[in-house]
């Protein structure tokens, strides 16, 4: 931990020196606004800044970075000498601040769920300035692929509990991967329906349950009961975050902050190169991880676990 901090400090110091001796940027000053003073956010920021230190990513007129952090009330004190060309918001809370304080600046929202975006996926309404978002939400086929791997040793059916609002995405994914559809059993949940009851019904008929970051189905309040029901029926759950993995999912496909930072730096680079950078960006880099305790509970064979873990290299 100490070595990491020293390393970070040295990098920051080096960046400051470079910034100080560099010739003024031609509109390439980047302001990074962190939602909180949280390690995950710092990992993202550090990854972004480290990205542009590498010689292969350096520009003749280097990009300068300024970093601000919102306080607990979501406010930030903006220095008067800052006039960024691009504002990067790390975390969901930063979106609101960026939209209030830098209304006309180009924005990049990173390390957020799609549901946190104030815009519709299809219609880019309400946002007049150019913007881009690097999302945490994994593409649907990634967990399906992992589920298929699980089915190889146990069962036949993959279950999915999703709301009507998520129907389009699911269908789009099925269209892209029609092989999944045969083993997939979907239970659509309406807003007025009892998720648990629907889950009970579904779990009784499937062998693997795939969890999507559908806010109507998978909520903090009911997630443990869904995991509980699944576990009780020996149905492994394929999750979408490291948190869900820790909560009881057998395996989870998710992107780490560094991986999001890497992708965000690449978007910034695209912005700097005046290439296409706007739009929603699903996580390019991801991680597949198994909860060993649950795996033991479900008596998951090691070769299965190994295959699943190797899927991370497959660049799904």
């Amino acid at each position: 931990m100490i070595s990491v901090t020293k390393h970070t400090v040295l990098i920051r110091l080096l960046l400051c020196i470079i910034t100080a001796i560099a010739t003024p940027a031609y509109g390439r000053d980047v302001l990074i606004v962190m939602s909180r003073d949280h390690a995950n956010y710092h990992k993202v920021v550090d990854t972004i800044q480290a990205y542009f230190v590498a010689p292969q990513h350096q520009f003749p007129s280097p990009i300068t970075f300024s970093v601000l952090t919102l306080n607990n009330n979501g406010e930030v004190k903006i220095p008067t000498d800052i006039s960024p060309s691009l504002v990067v918001g790390v975390g969901g809370r930063a979106i609101k601040s960026l939209r209030e304080n830098w209304k006309t600046h180009p924005h990049i929202y990173t390390l957020i769920s799609e549901k946190s975006l104030p815009v519709n996926r299809e219609k880019n309404q309400n946002i007049k300035n150019p913007w881009s978002a690097v999302l945490l939400d994994q593409p649907i086929f990634r967990p399906f692929k992992v589920s298929e791997e699980l089915l190889k040793y146990k069962g036949k059916r993959i279950g999915l509990l999703a709301s009507e609002s998520y129907k389009e995405q699911v269908n789009a994914s099925l269209r892209a991967h029609p092989e999944i559809e045969n083993s997939l059993q979907i239970s659509w949940v309406k807003k007025s329906e009892d998720v648990v009851r629907k889950a009970k019904q579904l779990i009784n008929t499937i062998d693997v349950l795939v969890a999507l970051p559908d806010p109507t189905v998978w909520k903090a309040e009911n997630a443990k009961w869904l995991l509980y029901l699944s576990y009780r029926k020996k149905v492994p759950v394929v999750g979408f975050s490291s948190s869900l993995l820790k909560a009881g999912a057998l395996v989870s496909v998710y992107s780490k902050p560094e991986q999001i930072g890497q992708q965000t730096a690449e978007v910034i680079e695209q912005w700097a190169l005046k290439k296409t950078w706007q739009g929603l960006h699903s996580p390019k880099y991801f991680t597949v991880e198994i909860n060993d305790l649950v795996a033991d509970g479900l008596r998951t064979p090691d070769e299965v676990k190994e295959r699943i873990l190797n899927m991370e290299k497959d660049s799904l």
Binding site: S116, D194, W225, S243, A247
Partner: protein
């Protein structure tokens, strides 16, 4: 509360046990009950917690049957009375209760809220932070206390049972312990009680061992010792009682004998006293006649042989009288003591009159009797004059007997003892003194000094013994003292009296007059000096002749007083002595000698006066006065002071009543008075005396105390009632029964004791008449002078006043003062009051140099009126 030792011991043992048992029982029951309460509470809390956890999913999923199952399973626990589940809106979902349990108010109620606790499922940090828990419903659990109550009752019952059992055992044990401990003590106490009640044979049973056993053994041993001692004591007391009874019996018989003896002795003493009193009266009465008539014979007879014979008779009679007096006084002192007066009297005159009585034997032996009052001693004292006189008489009489040459000094001084304040009268002689052997028995009655002088002088040997007893009776002391330089005897009479000054002013004042005195005896010189200093004169008392001669020529003396030693008994001897004093001036002279009459030839115009020693103060001052002023007085009224008191016409014109039952005494007294030209009436009882006194105004009434029909005292009372100014002199031969009480002093103007002395009698008559009759006063009023005498007085005063005016004009103030002094003397003597007052003021003005005032006063003196 009076409890015995056993109840106390029981209480002592039971009370702490009871207290401990109660406390422990209460503590145990309380603890168990509290544990029960806590166990059911813990059970309730535990069950509630489990219900909250287990119902979360059912409440979350709305699985009511599952909730019901959960409630029913909870009711398996016997103390659970009811289980309720409610949703988040408070709607009752499940209500399961145990019907057999009473829903009492003592049941315990537990309420738990069921929340759905969210978990993080997203890696979006903000999403995780915004999540919060949701109320799913609530669980109500009712725990019945019925079984607890039953258990608590059981606990209390068991505790009480155990406590009662323990207490009973404790009481039994305490009683046993108390009995075993108290039994020997109680038996010991009973034994002590028996011993207190007198049963010394009682013993305590030796019931126990240890300290109490030792105590009992020790007590029994002590009881045996006491019993033995008691028996021994009883034996001793019995023996002592027997002896005491015998002794008492003997004492009773002896006391009876003693009482008889004492009674007999008292009777004998009374009879003796009565006998002596009768004898005194019977002896003294005829003696009085013997002494009186012998005095008459002495005066009338011419031949020396007959005078000597009669003197012997008189001396023998006086000795007999003294013997009787002494025996009577001593007897009286031994039997009843003596009654003492306590009256104010002139101590100086008392001693002087005593010395005058002893002057003849003293002068016969050529002894100087010197009375010296110290300067700080006043003349007046308070006490018994007669007894003092008696003691002084004894002491001086003894001194005269045992002294052949020299002097006898009677000195009155204040006691130097700070504790015993009073006066000391010292009688010191120049005799041989008293040996150590004789001094031991000096004050014993009937003891006489064993020497030739004693045998020669005779005497009863009672004088000192009587004097000693009298002095003690007066609160004083009489003792023989020794002084280193004095060979003679010295007696000191201490009397606890205070002296005081006279209230009367001294009428002899010689202020400024120079008086030169020649006296060889130092004590007498000091005495005469003290006497003259009271007159404010300038007194010179040289102790050497050379000094005397110097003063004679240099001090301008206006009077010489020459004292011839008493050893010079003849005129020729006295003249020879006087011739040794060279006097070349004509100065008034007063010669003091030890003889009665002095007749010597002197130079022409040299006049002297003679005074016999011992002299009284008044006599000395009187003679001094007339010698200083006799020129003035002689020119006016001749020399009345030379008129003899013993002239035959001393009592001319006086009339006396003599009340006396003894015919001889009547005749004796009548003879003395009629020879002084007095008239006398005689009566022989008190009744007649009263009759005569009522009819006639007597100058003096002589009243015998013991007379038939009516005594002198009763008669005097009656006479005084009739005439309070009557002068009555008591006559008595009873020297024991004093008449000088305050009551009798009112009745009697004087008391004379038989045998009477003619001179004493006449002196007393003159004194009383001087006090009460103007014809015999010392100072004379001009109204008493006849025409010729009045004329001479007037001429003398005129001459003096004329000289005074002349001296005033010539401003010779000294002469003026001298003349004023002379005028004052004449005016005072003849009681010319106005002139006396003026002259006194005139002298005062001259003294203060107020000459204007003096001149005015001299003018008023010049126009004096002698009447």
């Amino acid at each position: 509360m009076n409890l015995g030792i056993q109840p106390r011991l029981i209480l002592l043992a039971v009370f702490p046990l009871l207290l401990v048992t109660l406390l422990m029982g209460y503590s145990m029951a309380k603890s168990q009950i509290r544990d029960l309460d806590q166990s059911i509470d813990r059970q309730g809390v535990s069950l509630l917690g489990q219900l909250v956890r287990f119902s979360e999913f059912s409440l979350f999923s709305g699985d009511h049957p599952q909730l019901k199952i959960l409630a029913e399973r909870t009711l398996i626990f016997p103390d659970v009375a009811r289980v309720q589940f409610k949703d988040s809106s408070g709607i009752l979902l499940v209500d399961q209760n145990r019907g057999s349990l009473n829903n009492t108010s003592k049941n315990l109620y537990y309420q738990g809220f069921v929340y759905s606790s969210p978990i993080a499922i997203s890696d979006d940090i903000d999403e995780i932070a915004d999540s919060s828990r949701i109320l799913l419903g609530e669980v109500l659990l009712e725990m019945s206390t019925e079984s607890i109550q039953t258990k608590q009752d059981g606990i209390i019952s068991r505790t009480l049972l155990i406590m009662s059992f323990g207490l009973l055992i404790s009481i039994g044990f305490a009683i046993w312990i108390a009995a075993s401990f108290a039994r020997p003590l109680i038996s010991l106490t009973r034994t002590v009680t028996k011993m207190q009640e007198g049963d010394l044979t009682a013993r305590a049973p030796e019931l126990s061992t240890g300290e109490v056993g030792l105590l009992v053994k020790g007590f029994n041993a002590m009881g045996e010792t006491i019993e033995k001692n008691q028996m021994a004591l009883e034996n001793q007391v019995s023996e002592a009682t027997k002896k005491l009874k015998r002794t008492v019996k003997e004492l009773v018989s002896k006391n009876t004998l003693l009482d008889d003896a004492k009674r007999n002795a008292e009777l004998m003493a009374e009879e003796k006293a009565l006998f002596l009193a009768r004898m005194s009266h019977d002896i003294r009465t005829p003696l009085n006649a013997v002494v009186g008539f012998s005095q008459n014979l002495t005066e009338s007879l011419t031949t020396e042989e007959r005078r000597e014979s009669i003197d012997i008779i008189a001396t023998a009679a006086n000795q007999l009288n003294q013997l009787v007096d002494d025996i009577l006084v001593l007897t009286h002192l031994e039997s009843e003591g003596v009654k003492l007066n306590h009256l104010r009297f002139n101590l100086r005159e008392c001693i002087e009159s005593t010395l005058l009585m002893l002057s003849n034997p003293a002068n016969d032996k050529g002894l100087e009797l010197v009375l010296l009052f110290d300067e700080n001693v006043f003349d007046w004292g308070t006490g018994d004059e007669l007894r003092v006189s008696q003691i002084i008489n004894n002491l001086v009489n003894n001194a005269i007997k045992f002294t052949d040459t020299g002097h006898i000094l009677i000195r009155v001084s204040l006691s130097s003892n700070s504790i015993h304040k009073g006066i000391v009268i010292t009688v010191e002689d120049t005799g041989p003194g008293i040996s150590e052997t004789n001094s031991k028995e000096l004050f014993e009655p009937f003891k006489q000094l064993d020497n030739l002088t004693t045998r020669k002088q005779g005497g009863t040997g009672l004088g000192l013994s009587i004097s000693k007893r009298l002095s003690v009776a007066m609160g004083g002391e009489l003792s023989l003292v020794k002084k280193h330089n004095v060979s003679g005897a010295i007696f000191e009479l201490y009397l606890p009296w205070e002296t005081s000054d006279t209230l009367e002013k001294n009428r002899y004042i010689f202020t400024g007059k120079n008086i030169l005195v020649w006296e060889e005896n130092p004590w007498a010189r000091r005495s005469i000096r003290n006497l003259l200093l009271t007159s404010e004169a300038n007194v010179y008392t040289p102790n050497q002749m050379s000094d005397f001669n110097d003063l004679l020529h240099n001090s301008s003396p206006e009077l010489l007083i020459l004292s011839v030693p008493a050893l010079h008994q003849e005129s020729t001897s006295i003249k020879s002595y006087l011739n040794t004093i060279f006097i070349n001036k004509i100065i008034p002279t007063l010669i003091l000698t030890g003889i009665k009459k002095l007749s010597i030839n002197t130079r022409e115009n040299y006049k002297y006066e003679h005074l016999q020693k011992p002299y009284t103060q008044s006599r000395l001052l009187e003679r001094t006065y007339f010698n200083l002023y006799k020129n003035q007085i002689s020119e006016s009224i001749g020399e009345p002071w030379k008129k003899s008191r013993r002239s035959d016409s001393l009592l001319l014109g006086c009339k006396f009543l003599i009340a006396e039952d003894n015919t001889f005494n009547q005749q004796l007294l009548k003879g003395w008075l009629t020879t002084q030209s007095a008239q006398v009436d005689l009566v022989d009882n008190g009744v007649d005396a009263i009759e005569f006194a009522k009819k006639e105004l007597y100058s003096i009434i002589f009243m015998d105390v013991h007379m038939p029909q009516m005594g002198g005292i009763e008669a005097a009372k009656e006479i005084k009632l009739h005439n309070s100014n009557a002068i009555i002199i008591a006559l008595t031969a009873d020297v024991i029964q004093q008449l000088s009480t305050s009551e009798n002093l009112v009745l009697f103007n004087a008391v004379l004791y038989k045998p009477l002395n003619k001179n004493k009698l006449l002196d007393k008559i003159v004194t009383l008449l001087q006090k009460n009759s103007p014809t015999l006063t010392q100072n004379q009023s001009v109204s008493q002078l006849n025409t010729e005498e009045l004329h001479k007085l007037e001429q003398s005063l005129t001459v003096l006043i004329t000289q005074s005016n002349a001296s005033f004009d010539t401003q010779d103030w000294r002469l003026a003062k001298d003349l004023a002094h002379q005028i004052a003397g004449l005016a005072g003597y003849f009681e010319i009051d106005q002139l006396t007052q003026n002259v006194t003021s005139y002298r005062h003005a001259l003294k203060n140099s107020h000459f204007e005032e003096a001149k005015r006063l001299l003018l008023s003196i010049t126009h004096f009126n002698i009447t």
